[in-house]
């Protein structure tokens, strides 16, 4: 085994990280160590995007440019990438096209969010398709601006992001790719010593050995939550095992019947596969955090973290997903629904990790709907989220799997509501209402800062009625303020 330091590309040079604390964030490294102060800290929790930087990396032989929140990304997680910040992108002759468009359209006022916005647009600039107002809005969902009202920023995005990148990063892509390819050396990387470390094993063997020796180590996937444990809860994390370099956990296996995600597949990578399962699932993923969060947050991390809301969990429970867990040589597979035991308690032993999630695709007689209710449409945590999967024989409901997030201590199925549906005609409005009424037997939601228990229940019942009415044939243009995006790949 060869162990090397955490290593990344920065301004044309390779950086070996040898003396940083394992929990150092990328933002602190940039601002305090490198004194590159163009990147700002706005919230230190990955919600405002002022700290957005771009990580360029090789994926399937292609360069991809992804925006990330540097405030909650640990330094070790940039291993193998090129770190690009707002100071780096101006061209020799002047501003980068996205910077020039921002100036032209008066896209900055106080300027504090601007570096992050510029970097989100830089990432958008490097995508294949030209931006329109909708895709620009999506690209900016993780960047809060309190001054402009966004219109000029969206104008700048649409003008500059043409889908034909022609900046110096595009021009030197081949040589950058070569450097990054060399960094993808299959070696295990390590920062620190045996007691205090950020370990980045490349294989499951070493991962297993580390977890055997240090079962108390924090297993890190995307850090979109762990980053807050550090910045906000001030948890003194000293031993961190990052799964992001383990090749076996990064795979996506797409078969006619199912799609299987390795635990560290990011939401960004999973999105098109889930969208192909059902357009509601695609929209759910598009509203999952922001581009920045989706670029680092992982499918496995979202599940293993055990949030009572979860977003992915209720949708995947309704679809009948299964979970593969590993500890040492022991592999086991359980239904995802059984993984969540109670609030913040999952069926996972110390040292055991989530390895794979298998999501069955919809059969010809299966119908799916998923609706997420939030205070703000984009980049918000669900007040409640409902997912419904029905198996139909004509109009008759043969089987029903309903799951909600935000309604209990865990994402949870709704057996009472399901029972009201099985054996009934989907066309009967009375059936929808009976199922909705049964939700009061399934859930006892809480009052909190997102909503009252009463609202949660009302909204959940409305979500269920809408899902059933739509499956029965009511067009979503009449049931939703943002109609369902019917995709050609959808089962119906």
């Amino acid at each position: 085994m060869t162990v090397r330091p955490i290593r990344f590309l920065r301004r044309g040079r390779l950086v070996d990280v040898t003396d940083a604390h394992p929990r150092t964030t990328l933002l602190d490294w940039l601002r305090l160590r490198e004194r590159a102060v163009g990147t700002k800290e706005g919230c230190a929790e990955g919600d405002c995007g002022a700290c957005t930087v771009v990580l360029a990396r090789l994926r399937d032989g292609r360069m991809v440019y992804e925006p990330v929140n540097a405030c909650i990304l640990l330094l070790g997680q940039v291993d193998g990438t090129e770190v690009i910040t707002v100071e780096d992108i101006a061209e020799a002759g002047g501003l980068h096209p996205v910077q020039a468009a921002m100036v032209k359209h008066h896209g900055s006022q106080c300027g504090f969010c601007t570096p992050g916005i510029v970097m989100s647009l830089f990432a958008l600039y490097h995508e294949d398709a030209p931006a329109d107002r909708t895709t620009a809005g999506d690209a900016l969902a993780g960047n809060l601006c309190r001054c402009t009202g966004y219109r000029p920023i969206v104008d700048a995005a649409v003008e500059a992001c043409t889908g034909k990148p022609a900046d110096r990063f595009a021009a030197t892509e081949t040589s950058s790719a070569k450097v990054l390819a060399a960094l993808d050396d299959g070696a295990d990387a390590w920062l620190g010593d045996a007691d205090r470390f950020f370990a980045a094993p490349a294989g499951e063997d070493l991962l297993g050995r580390i977890l055997e020796n240090a079962a108390d180590a924090t297993i890190l996937a995307g850090a979109t939550d762990v980053g807050l444990w550090i910045n906000k809860a001030l948890q003194p994390l000293e031993r961190i095992v990052w799964l992001g370099r383990v090749k076996a956990l990064q795979t996506i296996e797409d078969t006619p019947d199912a799609v299987a995600f390795g635990a560290t597949v990011t939401h960004a990578r999973a999105l098109p596969y889930l969208e192909a399962v059902d357009p509601d699932l695609g929209e759910l993923m598009r509203r999952f955090g922001s581009r920045q969060v989706r670029a680092t947050g992982t499918v496995g991390g979202n599940i293993a973290n055990g949030s009572p809301i979860g977003d992915l969990a209720p949708a995947l429970i309704a679809l009948g997903a299964t979970l593969e867990l590993r500890k040492g040589e022991r592999l086991r597979t359980i239904p995802l629904a059984d993984f969540f035991i109670e609030y913040r308690k999952q069926d996972r032993e110390p040292g055991e990790y989530v390895r794979r999630i298998v999501v069955p695709k919809l059969g010809p007689s299966e119908r799916f709907r998923c609706l997420k209710i939030t205070k703000r449409r984009d980049e918000d945590i669900s007040t409640t989220l409902g997912a419904v999967m029905l198996t139909l024989e004509g109009d008759l409901v043969i089987a029903a799997r309903i799951a909600f997030g935000g309604m209990a201590g865990t994402p949870k199925r709704a057996p009472a509501a399901e029972a009201q549906l099985v054996g009934q005609s989907i066309k009967q409005a009375a059936t929808w209402r009976a199922a909705a009424a049964a939700l009061t037997a399934d859930y006892k939601p809480l009052d909190d800062h997102r909503a009252s228990a009463k609202y949660r229940m009302q909204a959940a019942q409305s979500v269920l009625v809408k899902a059933l009415a739509e499956i029965a044939g009511l067009p979503s243009e009449t049931t939703r303020i943002h109609p369902r995006k019917e995709a050609s790949l959808a089962a119906e």
Binding site: E45, H106, P115, T134, T148, I373, R377, D380, Y455, S462
Partner: protein
């Protein structure tokens, strides 16, 4: 001479810099990450970092504060409490009721107990959570009702009005009453509160503070340290947003950093974490408004009786002026023949509420728009017709505080122009058709006016200063008392300076605001920045030009008043000379090329005790038409289209003004829709981070967003006949709230829609349930 009398500007040759849509002076720096904010300034060697220990309860007597573990934590250099303050332990702007550190009483959850000074920010933060308190906890008063029950106020009640509204409401053919809640708002400036204090000799202190009010920071630092103002300099080049949240709220952190610097004799920086910032700094006041109105069968209002119950938090802060401004705007744009506007400044055991863009005005105006809606609904009339019917007009032009609205025609003209350009009537009909066929989704539309009084209502604040130097190479050093928080003030004032001297903008160097250059300044607030500082710069430039012209006339003939400054040259008689050459020659001739300008707003006066006077120099007008679609099963809402027409006088910079209008509108829209401050029964703010407190994002802004300027010279003499633009656009968002209510009204025509602000999905669904008796389909 070219016009130093701005009244003459209309006849002047086409300007070179003013009225142009030029970019913000820092735009190129913003986009490259090259604009420096306080946390970006290279730290002097040995800089220490400060973090704060926060009160764990809202209302308590502090029995014991054990800081042993804090002092023993790694990296800790000093720990500071109230006992370490050499001067006064008070950071209040006026009333002496804001302790910098808790002494015996805890007033709100999150109040500063002590400060830790350590070698790194991380070490300071980790040490700051180790303090141990022993307290006697009392039940906190959190809500309007709890404060009312205890009759707890921070300032005396105040009211003004005319006539006998009780009698007139009684006599009116119709009457209505109601109660309406309006939520507060977190500023969410992207750059949180931050200060860097650098000690100098003899106890001098230089403070870099992210503040809208450097003079206030100077006063408070001097007060806390017990030294004269002259020993303290406060400097700020730019803020990463202010919105009123750095008017009085920036001082505490500057004062604590200065105290730490004094005690350690090292530079000290204090930057609040976002969650702490949201817990520790004040917000827009939330209100309950109780109202009664009398009106006739057409909807013409005879009398209004309104009671504004403001939740001020634990101290007075700026609540006197804020709630006064709510009262001043409780007429919105409507004539109220008989009226009583009463206010109560309620004291709660929560953070002290403060200035926020609009300064109380938005709450007063929204409440009045809700009254108009209620009147219209009960009469079955279109609310816009009732708005127009009650709008100020000929013979109906005196406000409840006795000031005459001299240009009410501007407001009404804007309203009517927007009614046409937005196709209001056609869309109103289309919406009715849609709603008749749509059981779940309902559309709504509303067109509401804005009339906002410009001037500080505290008359003494309506003054400004500038310091202008012309160097012997002809370049200009520009400084004034206004601060830059993104609103483009520095750019606008630089355009004025370049215009006055007739030189290129690149010859004008914008410099950081400093109490050492311009003293005794007013806060950059009340939308006054360009009006006040633009004028002070014009005065200063005028004085320098006068001396230069005198010299030029002596050298080349003609009279000084014929000398013209334009195109980088100075024209005198038949000669012309480069501005740079004239500057050099003036210096050689021992003529002063530096001037401190001073300006005070004319005409304004306000007698608060009598409730009479002219608190405002002029009004800024506007109108907005918003259309929304509401989901009556979940309460979700989408803004579909917004049309805005807004009065900026003759704009100093139309691009910057449009930015203020759009940004203000979206900020107001957030206040009234997704932004919700939730306090629990223990007085803890539960929405203290962007994960739980939701300001608008890009996709919340309607794709169909049509903004136009109503450009006509200000009837009053202002800088190049422009109008203030910072705050008024916030209230354009009242149209969004009224449109939501309009959509809900379609569920139960004739009923008053019981919708409180903000119109979150939950608030909307609650209104649906109250209107229809159920939720569902």
């Amino acid at each position: 001479m070219p016009p130093s009398d701005p009244a003459a500007v209309e006849d002047a040759p086409a300007p070179r810099h003013v009225h142009k849509p030029l970019p913000h002076d820092s735009a190129a720096k913003h986009v490259q990450g090259a604009a420096l904010y306080i946390d970006d300034i290279a730290e002097p060697e040995g800089t220490l970092h400060v973090a704060l220990g926060l009160a764990p309860v809202a209302r308590a007597r502090l029995q014991e504060l054990d800081l042993t573990a804090v002092r023993a934590a790694p990296g800790v250099v000093a720990v500071l409490t109230a006992a370490d303050v050499p001067g006064k332990n008070d950071v209040s702007p006026a009333f002496g009721d804001d302790p910098m550190f808790v002494e015996r009483e805890i007033f709100f959850h999150g109040q500063a107990l002590f400060a830790v000074v350590a070698t790194t920010r991380d070490a300071a933060r980790r040490a700051a959570v180790l303090g141990v308190t022993k307290t006697t906890v009392l039940k906190p008063r959190v809500t309007v009702e709890e404060a009312l029950a205890a009759d707890a106020t921070v300032l005396p009640d105040y009211q003004f009005g005319r006539g006998d509204p009780d009698q007139e409401i009684e006599r009116a053919p119709r009457s209505l009453d109601g109660s309406f809640r309006i939520g507060g708002q977190e500023h969410f400036y992207l750059e949180g509160q931050v200060a860097l204090a650098i000690p100098g000799e003899d106890g001098e202190m230089l403070v870099h503070s992210s503040t809208q009010h450097p003079t206030e920071v100077q006063h408070v630092v001097a007060r806390v340290l017990g030294i004269p103002d002259a020993f303290v300099t406060c400097e700020v080049r730019r803020m990463g947003g202010g919105f009123g949240g750095k008017e009085s709220q920036g001082t505490q952190w500057a004062a604590i950093a200065a105290l730490a610097a004094r005690i350690t004799n090292r530079p000290c920086k204090l930057r609040l974490d976002r969650d702490d910032d949201m817990a520790m700094t004040g917000k827009r006041h939330d209100f309950r408004v109780d109202w009664r109105v009398g009106f006739d069968d057409d909807g013409r209002i005879a009398a209004l009786d309104t009671k504004l119950l403001a939740r001020c938090g634990y101290s007075a802060d700026l609540s006197l002026g804020v709630v006064d401004r709510t009262m001043f705007h409780s007429d919105s744009s409507y004539f109220l023949p008989t009226v009583r506007i009463a206010s109560k400044r309620l004291k709660t055991d929560t953070v002290s509420n403060t200035a926020f863009r609009g300064f109380g005005g938005p709450q007063g105006m929204l409440a009045m728009e809700r009254v108009i809606d209620a009147v219209a609904w009960t009469l079955g009339r279109d609310p816009l017709d009732v708005r127009k019917l009650n709008h100020y007009g000929e013979g109906r032009d005196v406000t409840p505080y006795g000031m005459t609205v001299e240009d009410h025609d501007v407001g009404l003209a804007i309203l009517e122009k927007l009614e046409r350009s937005s196709d209001y009537r056609i869309r109103r009909a289309e919406i009715a058709t849609f709603n008749a066929r749509s059981p779940i989704l309902r559309r709504g539309i509303a067109l509401t006016p804005v009339k906002f009084g410009i001037s500080f209502t505290l008359t003494q604040l309506n003054q400004s200063g500038a310091l202008v130097h012309v160097y012997s190479d002809g370049s200009v050093h520009l400084n004034h008392g206004g601060t830059e928080m993104g609103q483009g003030l520095f750019q606008k004032v630089a355009q004025v300076a370049a215009e006055e001297f007739g030189i290129g903008l690149d010859r004008v160097r914008i410099t950081a605001t400093s109490t050492a250059k311009v003293p005794n300044t007013s806060p950059t607030a009340a939308s006054s920045g360009s009006d006040l500082n633009g004028m002070a710069v014009m005065v200063a430039a005028g004085a320098i030009k006068k001396r230069m012209a005198q010299y030029a006339a002596e050298e080349w003939g003609g009279t000084p008043d014929q000398v013209e400054f334009r195109d980088d040259r100075v024209f005198v008689g038949n000669e012309s000379v480069a501005f740079t050459d004239l500057a050099k020659r003036c210096h050689l001739a021992r003529i002063s090329l530096s001037e401190a300008g001073h300006y005070k707003t004319p005409k304004v006066s306000w007698n608060r005790a009598e409730g009479t006077g002219r608190p405002f120099y002029y009004f800024a007008y506007g109108a907005a038409c918003s259309e929304v679609v509401v989901d009556t099963m979940t309460g979700e809402m989408r803004v579909e289209r917004v049309d805005i027409l807004h009065d900026v006088g003759r704009s100093l910079n139309p691009a910057i003004d449009i930015g203020q209008i759009e940004g203000g509108f979206v900020q107001g829209m957030g206040w009234l829709t997704t932004e919700e401050l939730v306090y629990d029964a223990e007085g803890r703010l539960r929405t203290h981070a962007p994960s739980t407190y939701k300001i608008p994002v890009a996709s919340d802004v309607p794709a169909d967003f049509r903004v136009a300027l109503h450009q006509a010279p200000n009837r009053e003499v202002t800088i190049y006949r422009s109008k203030a633009v910072g705050e008024p656009p916030v209230m354009l968002a009242n149209s969004v709230f009224c449109a939501v209510a309009d959509a809900l009204h379609s569920l139960a025509p004739g009923k008053v829609v019981p919708l409180d602000a903000p119109a979150t999905p939950e608030a909307i669904l609650k209104a649906v349930e109250e209107l229809t008796g159920s939720v569902g389909f």
